[in-house]
């Protein structure tokens, strides 16, 4: 199953229903290492620090060439362990990203 263009997005709705079943990520063989890595990260928790110092924690959903990131269920923290503000879906432009961390705990495959 490969998604590489915007036109394919309409398919996503149908696939969303299948999401409730446990799925084993079967990656196509012929991917470049970078694409492979990105695919592995999908659905895992990211902690992104942006240029104004805010920390965003959410589920990694989508990215593109310019490293624009979409996080679902995102919470915003002004400081470490502060009160979160719930934002929902956010898009972080790549140019505003300071650092990215991934939650190792939710990985069960490589790394």
């Amino acid at each position: 199953m490969s998604f590489s263009s915007v036109e394919d997005l309409s398919e996503a709705g149908k696939l969303a229903q299948r999401r409730s079943e446990p799925i084993v990520k079967a990656l196509p063989e012929n991917l470049t290492p970078g694409r492979r890595k990105l695919r592995c990260w999908l659905g895992r928790y990211f902690r992104v620090v942006i240029t104004d110092g805010r920390i965003l924690v959410g589920m990694f959903n989508c990215t593109d060439k310019d490293a624009n990131i979409v996080l679902a269920m995102c919470a915003e923290y002004l400081k470490e362990d502060g009160e979160p503000r719930i934002l929902g879906n956010v898009m972080i432009p790549g140019k505003h990203i300071v650092s990215i961390e991934v939650d190792k705990r939710s990985s069960d495959e490589d790394d």
Partner: protein, 736 residues
Amino acid sequence: MPGNELQTGSEQEGEVRGDDGLGAAEDQMSSRGIALGQSYRRCPNYEWKSVTTEFFEACSELSLGELVHDEIFGLFEAMSAIEMMDPKMDVGIILNKDEPVPHTFQTAVSAGVLKLENFTNEELIGIFDSIYSCLVCWLEGHSLDQILFTCLYLHNPHEIADKVLKSFCLAIRKLIPIIKDFVIEGNVSEEEDFQLFGVSNLGVIDNPTETQVVGLLKESEDELVRRSRIESNAEDVLAVMHRVRLLRFLFQSLFLLWPRKDTTFGEPVLVEVQKNLNAALELLPFIKRTVEKGTQPDPKSDAPNPIGYSPRVNQRNLPPTFPRSARIRDRLSSFVFLEGLSQKLKLACKVIHQKDYYATLNFFIDFSKKSGQCLLSRSILQIIFFGNKKNVKGTNPFEEFLKESIKLFTAPPILMSKNNVSNNIEAKKYVDSFLKYCINLHTFTYFLQICGYNRARQRDKLARLIEEGFGNLQDEAGRVDTYLNLICRHTESSSQHISHFGTWTLYYCLRAMSLYLLSGFELELYSVHEFLYIYWYLYEFLFGFIVTTLSRAESLLAMQDITSESKTNTKQRKLKAKKKKQSKPFLREIMYNHAMQMMSGGYYKAIAAFTKDGRIRQPKSKFDNEEIRFNRRFAPFANLNSPPPMPYIEFAKIRSSQFRAPSAELFLSAANHFHQARNILESVLNPDTEMLQMIQVAKFNFIVTNLLANGHKKDSKLQPEFDFSQHYCFPIIKIN
């Protein structure tokens, strides 16, 4: 919307959900946020691993436009995402990293930055004036949380030690729910027009009651008056007192009109309201003069006043997508706004003196022109009028009101006392059911309500009113007229029933149509090449129809006069004859509409000539279909029986025959039209401002079209300019 996003997010991803009740309703958002936050903190088992460079490297492998995305990621997720760091979308953006956490009432007090007593006069004036500005901003459609509730004093008014400030803040807090009720009950706004609900938990204060608040304000005033006698700076103390007193007068007048209280608005209440408003209006000039006496906002800060505000106190509670900041009105213009508001409210009180529907509708239309921007006054007008016509024990005053209105408009014999027809039970039943039908369709009430909406919203609603309301009503009126006509012929009666009800409904339908078409000019919807058929329709049909309908109504009234006269004795007849000389009730409106018809005729001919000379830019034929455009413009009229719909072919035929004449001739005829319009308007007694404006426009256009008829700038291909600055639908033609 933010709630939805959250919900979809949480349904699809069960990982962090836990038992925090994530599916709760939107209004519990903030509490949910905390719960979720706790769960974040409760599971410290995130094991973060930095992947920054790795990630950027991986992304650079992607080609342009290629997305790597989760299976559940679709168009909805993409479109609903908030763009971080975007100044418009991102409310939480931190422009200044060193900015401290915004103060709340409690933190500000304990940090010693919010004083609760020993205010100077200067400080009080500053606080009061800034609160007035914020109040006005809210009335203009901004959010409570972002504006008014950034004033910390309003958060906990009970804890303020200074009595004057305390009473002022309590009164403002009590005023807020009253204003909200007006907007809700007035029902002339839509969700986006007014921010009724905020997220901060500043609800209604139960204690003190409204009457007690007035008492508290009064006490503060008295104390200030006492102080002014002792202290040296009496003028400053009085300036403070004026502001408290203004609030009391505004509060009292609004409280009297409050729809929660179960009163019908009769004369005594409204007189009391007007007294309060007059008192407020007398105070405002003094207050405007002393604005300088108060502390002024720091130009470097967002706060409306140096003390008492914490501009970002509610920021993190606002929905994720929200305008980041709102500009607050300056103080002087806020008082000008309050002045306007008081005048409009005074005017609104006069609505109950309108004797029939005809006068009432004109009142509403006029009011809408004057206060299109002010939602509060428009809502209150609705509340006063409909409150005055409230159902009282089974009778429907509005039905009586319509009946009276028809009597005054066309005087159908059936409704007039003392004649054979009105005793016919069958006929009476017909008329009653027609009136019931009018009430049940809500067409007439809805027409008044539409006039209460802001100018832009009126147009859509008028279209529906014409299509659905008047379409049906006209059919029904026609049926009643035919039936009554038959009865009149059968009974031996001198009076005839012609189209009394039909004329009445047709007139209001035409009024709605003209409002609809003219609003297109006001809202700048028409492009110049469309003017041709709009003015054509106005000239050839609409205004002409209005004139004939009104003339018919006049002749029906005259007919009724004659029949009743023949029955009365000579003495009364003399009296009647005296009256009759003045009885041309619609003369003014007929002249006005006739003038509008002539004006439209002038534009139609002039634009036809310009079009013929190729001086009006036309859309590229590849992208245009004039017929569709034409049909869209007149779409709401398509289903009416009367006036009959005008098909596009008709217009095209007339236009091509019109174009046969040389353009000089068309310009000359346009000049004639403008000249006639001016003549008619100049013969109106006591012309209002709108008529005077029209005279000005007609004068200008007469000269311009005359010049054009004589070949001035004949070879120019430049499009003339249409300048709507004088009148909203009749522009001055300017030749470039």
